[in-house]
Point group: C2
Chain length 414, copies 2
Amino acid sequence: MTQSFRPRIKAPILLNSAEAEIIRALRRQGCITSSDITRMTGWSKAKTAQDIRDLVEKGFLMEAGEGISQGGRKPRLLCINRNLGFVVGVDIGATSVDVALADISGGILQRYSEAADVRQRPEPFLSRCVEIIFQLMDLQGCRSDQILGIGIGVPGPVDFARGVLVAPPLMPDWENFSIRGFVKESFPNAFVVVDNDVNIMALGEQRAGDGINVDHFIFVKIGTGIGAGIVSNGKIHRGSTGCAGDIGHICVDKNGPICRCGNTGCLEAMAAGPAIAEKAVQAALSGSSPFLKNLMNQNGGVLRPEDVNTACREGDQAALEIIRASGQMIGDVLAGLVNFFNPSHIFIGGGIANFGNHLLVSIRRAVLRRSLPLATTHLSINFSRMGADAGVTGAVALALEYLFVIEDQPTTTI
Amino acid sequence: MTQSFRPRIKAPILLNSAEAEIIRALRRQGCITSSDITRMTGWSKAKTAQDIRDLVEKGFLMEAGEGISQGGRKPRLLCINRNLGFVVGVDIGATSVDVALADISGGILQRYSEAADVRQRPEPFLSRCVEIIFQLMDLQGCRSDQILGIGIGVPGPVDFARGVLVAPPLMPDWENFSIRGFVKESFPNAFVVVDNDVNIMALGEQRAGDGINVDHFIFVKIGTGIGAGIVSNGKIHRGSTGCAGDIGHICVDKNGPICRCGNTGCLEAMAAGPAIAEKAVQAALSGSSPFLKNLMNQNGGVLRPEDVNTACREGDQAALEIIRASGQMIGDVLAGLVNFFNPSHIFIGGGIANFGNHLLVSIRRAVLRRSLPLATTHLSINFSRMGADAGVTGAVALALEYLFVIEDQPTTTI
DNA sequence: GAACTTCGTCTATTTGATAGACAAAGCGCT
DNA sequence: AGCGCTTTGTCTATCAAATAGACGAAGTTC
């Protein structure tokens, strides 16, 4: 054996249920011994040993030295073969792109973010993404054919089965463009999955955040737009055409302003980032907030949503009022969704997530006032603690979910 | 063998996945041959024959004569042993109770409805239900120990795991009362499952109505109250505390009337049966509807929601307006839920379901106006065609779902 | 150093499924 | 009626997967 062992693997990776169980245990625990598996699965020692031998032979597992003795002979440790392959998570936002390179068990190895404008055509945008991926691969010493899965989150309605955007308001040029096809040209061995950005954030929260082991939750992203990722019975709910969670265009006030969707008084038009900035400009111009006026002059006549937050921290009353109003409108909509969906957790993320407690308190108050007691007694509403990581973590998780496919799934209901 | 074969079975019935597959095939097709099973499962003839022998021995299957030849030897037909046991479905409404006795494959054998007042204490109410069940059993010649499963739907929020009502507005005396424990005293062999009435209607629509093979839908019941049964990824979504679907208390107008829940402008307070009747009384008194005034005098000063429907059919403009207003409010709420949940179907049932097209058109129009195009292009909004059957059919399906338990479910995700 | 544990391998055995031979039963054509 | 062909159902030999348990290697504890 003159050359190091490097099996050629192609996605998707088919596993039988026994193999899946072993790999799942390894993902959770990192390192594990053969008799650990025997104990947790109830299999005989021989079967466990045989399955492990097979997985090692196929290149999924490798030995990792000896463990500590439990009062007898030292066990041999097993871990996932991190050189088998890699997965990539891409989180495309309206104004930025986040890329992560991860090993096959979901551990992030390299990470990179940069500003980007999603309104350009998909080809140059995605070419730049691919370039970033190659740079991260170089840093890690990873070849193109070792990329086995790529998960991509995009800020618009996705037809999940086809992997294309349908009528995306932010990025009209992307409509029906095959993101999967374009990316796959550079990574022939990879399985490419495209999903809505909020869905991947929800997935990230479920896999690596506070949403772990939570059966029913809603991840609300508040930024330029407002959207929700939904988890029902432990699974992402995408809806019949894949556009579930589009709560930004729920009506809060029939007599409200006109939204870019054409309707009046949509939540997004009244409570999202641009609306907050617009209200701030008005407060500055009307003189009700000297602080904002000052900030606006410094910024060259423009105010961003973050400026309202800054003003609020400095004790500016008008800014506080703007944030409270936003929180209340969001809370009013969430109250209805809590009655309908009865989640145990609501996680709030996106650019607004660092707006601190004033926003959160307003949201909570509105939800508690308008939801049924049975639905709110055990309801937790909090900012996601994952920050910008939720997106890429979820994109990596999405890639992994579709990279490993379990064969022979028997019928689950009668 | 002097006595006919009657095995003693106790719920829940444990099946392995092969047995489950056979029984599922039999449920669908009614009668089936051994080689049919071979073809649809891909198993060898020997395995199929062996499994069938086992199921016949256990009493689940029985032979049903010979089938027609396919060009060779005649096959022996197999069917489910209908004498093995029975299940019961009970649909408790606010003012009525529906009971059905069904065989083990869900076919309804006997059915009975009567008026009942759910506001009384649970013991006498449920005693009457048990009495009805025994009467249906007598008609069918079925013994008490042959009842293997009982599904019960109740009009209020149910803690599904415990099988008790939690803070039910319609039936406060039932709070925390163990329906399961009470019913099980009369049917020691039965597995008793209690669920919300709207959930069982959704289940009925899914199993025996137009919801078959529909992954994501909402069943909306409009009657004295308004509630929704939710199916996500083909499964009932009950939410974290089991009260999902309580859409009757979503706000439609902050300045609206006070609801019994204490809030203002709830959908239920403005668009459900009592609100319709109340508006009709006002229309009668104000003189805007001579027809309703006439009807009210005939009824002794009282108007029911059905009277508005009658008036509308006769061309009464005020009644039409009342119905349209209700439909619009319901549609406005559903529009938000369509954006959030993206179902492919909405089924409308309950006492209002025979209000005809005016209501439906108003609902559809409101939903289409306020929902996103991607969510509505393939959305169907229709009355449930099951009428009063949805409840009991679903209750029977619920009982069956928990009566048969498939062992050794392997992990489905990695 | 003796007694007891744990770990990992190996063998004999059991269990479950398969392939394919074969007989029974039926159809269609001459 | 007879012949060839098909389908059905049973039986047997065989293969594959999992188990139990023996056994030696390697460690710990007293």
